[in-house]
Amino acid sequence: MKDENRISPIKEIEILSSRIPGVVSLAQGIPSFDTPLCVKKRAIEAIEDGRVARYSLAPGILELREAIEYSLAKRNIFYDFEKEIIVTAGSIEAITASLLTILEPGDEVLVPDPTYTSYQSAIKTARGIPVFVPLEEENSWDFDIEEFKKRVTSKTKAILYCNPNNPTGTVFSQEQLMQLAELAQMYNLYILADEVYKDFIYSNKDFFSLAQFSALRKRFIYIFSFSKSYAMTGWRVAYLAADKELAEKILGVHDSLVTCAPVVSQWGALAALEMADGVVIKYKEIFRQRRDFLCEELDKLSDWFEYQDPSSAYFVFPKMTDKLITAFEKYENKKSNNKNDLKDYQKNSISWRFAIELLNSAKVALVPGIAFGKKGEGHLRFCFGRRKENIEKAMRRIGKFIDSIK
């Protein structure tokens, strides 16, 4: 049995916090909203009409795939719903199925560091090796293409990124993405782009997807999830789009993994695409207000946290200042036995130790930055997808905790 893959630190923190009464969690990236009513109603109708009891076709119900093609076409992204679009059980299934399709054991996948924690386990599940490419915090967590180039070897098979990036909220520019495309073409690499946060961009910058660049078609896999945009994390429904030959191969893996995405969720997703655009705009505005609020609160703790303004998604990824690290280490030394309960990988990480102590002492759940890669160490991820009152409560508790250790 392989020991490499364990549950993601985000879920680990959520499990730990579920055992502590009164915890306020800003950990897992879950929007605080309920699923839009039109989505729920369509799902109920489908249940009542007896349309959800059977497997759908493996790539998904026709109407949904057609609606996906239609919505992509509005962004100048063109895929054939009959052969190139597959509805999946969440984006992580789309990513895993794609990686299982394209990777041979030992193949390497370049991933930005920091980035979404589950990418690592998806790559390992596909018997691949994640190779981390550091992002530049000083440069709003953008990437330097030279860092990617340096890490390409004969085993490199793909590049996997999230745009906008989780946890940094960075939106990669068209120019940067085109450099990645060039690299992919030069070294015959696949590109997997997860655009789960594309609907929550707070700057006025145009959002560019490499899916719009048709020359990359044969080596590009586009992934989008309904989870965040439509508050449907529990429905487990997403989709991928890829050139037909590649899609056909991924479909075989998808079929063996899940047969089809949950049919009731597929009907819900169809309603989301057809009727919930207005809801997404509303969510975005609320997230913007929560982001501004959280940033204001972090500004009050500027001696302890430094952060880059997130221009998208719903996370802030502040760095613990040296002052905070020093104060916390002194506090740890005073509390003699506090490391005994920690696992080895937690003991060696300041962000893990701080996150666990914050959880136990202040009852606030945050995700340790190390979860997103080495460059994330010394950071904490705050999710502002949660209710404002919870953000307020969490920040008050964090303030008090810092007061107690300084």
Binding site: L37, C38, K41, D49, R51, R54, Y55, S56, L57, I61, L62, E63, E66, A67, E69, Y70, A73, F78, Y79, D80, F81, E82, K83, E84, S214, A215, R217, K218, K244, E274, M275
Partner: protein
């Protein structure tokens, strides 16, 4: 309670639709089929020109409530009774007092269960109908494609003698609808026996190209979108535009 309200809304919208259609007598083009209705509708709208004289269903309003909303060009009230009351009041004004109305309506007609098409045809009387295909969402054989085809047969029979039925010749069940039609039929597809023949399909990263042979004229097209249905959509739009050229609709429209 909600079910009763839905019945009332449906009934009221039906009569508003009948009144407005009776007053303005637009030329109705119906797009039916399991899939590809929206792309066909959009292609037809592109081909005819998106102006005040031509209108299609907003989004995919194509069911027993969606279709009347599409004809009356009204939004959905979704789950709000107040919004529905507002919709019905606005609809009443449009239905009774509107002076301007599109000359051509391009309407998707969605069917979920037996009897749906009959109901939709009690609202609108298309002169041109397109059936894109007969397909299904579930792999089990017990869901008979022939039963789905029967719904489209209702539409095929309803097209008047001076109307046109446009059928996908590459789908056997769709093609077979020609045998029950009272109207002229135009069958498009890859088969050389079709009235409008699609050939030389070539795919590349930038999209696809194909030849379209219709009425002794062969034309070549390039489109950005992949997928056979997108070729069909364009071909259907060309056929519809050609059919309309032979009616008074477009001529009257230009005079207006």
């Amino acid at each position: 309670m909600k079910k009763i309200f839905k019945v009332i809304v449906q009934f009221y919208l039906k009569w508003l639709t009948k009144i407005v259609l009776l007053r303005h007598k637009p030329f109705v083009i119906a797009v039916a089929g399991t899939t590809n209705k929206t792309f066909v509708k959009e292609s037809i709208l592109d081909e005819l020109g998106r102006d005040t004289n031509v209108r299609g269903n907003p989004k995919s309003f194509n069911t027993e409530i969606g279709l009347p909303l599409a004809v009356l060009f009204l939004p959905s009230g979704f789950d709000s009774i107040f919004r529905w009351v507002d919709v019905l009041l606005t609809g009443t004004c449009i239905s009774i007092f509107s002076r301007k109305f599109p000359k051509i309506l391009v309407l998707e007609m969605g069917v979920d269960r037996p009897g749906d098409m009959k109901y939709l045809l009690s609202l609108v009387r298309p002169k041109i109908a397109i059936v894109t295909n007969v397909d299904r969402n579930f792999p089990e054989l017990e869901i008979a494609l022939d039963d789905i085809a029967k719904e489209f047969a209702v539409l095929a029979k309803a097209i008047p003698v001076d109307g046109t039925l446009i059928l996908n010749g590459d789908d056997v069940r769709t093609r077979n609808l020609a045998s029950i039609a009272n109207s002229k039929t135009i069958i498009f597809g890859k088969d050389k026996s079709c009235d409008a023949v699609i050939s030389n399909i070539k795919e590349n990263d930038a999209g696809q190209s194909f030849a379209f042979d219709y009425k002794m004229q062969k034309k070549f097209f390039e489109i950005e979108r992949p997928g056979r249905h997108n070729i069909n959509s364009l071909v259907i739009a060309k056929i519809v535009a050609d059919e309309l050229e032979q009616t008074d609709v477009r001529r009257n429209e230009s005079k207006a």
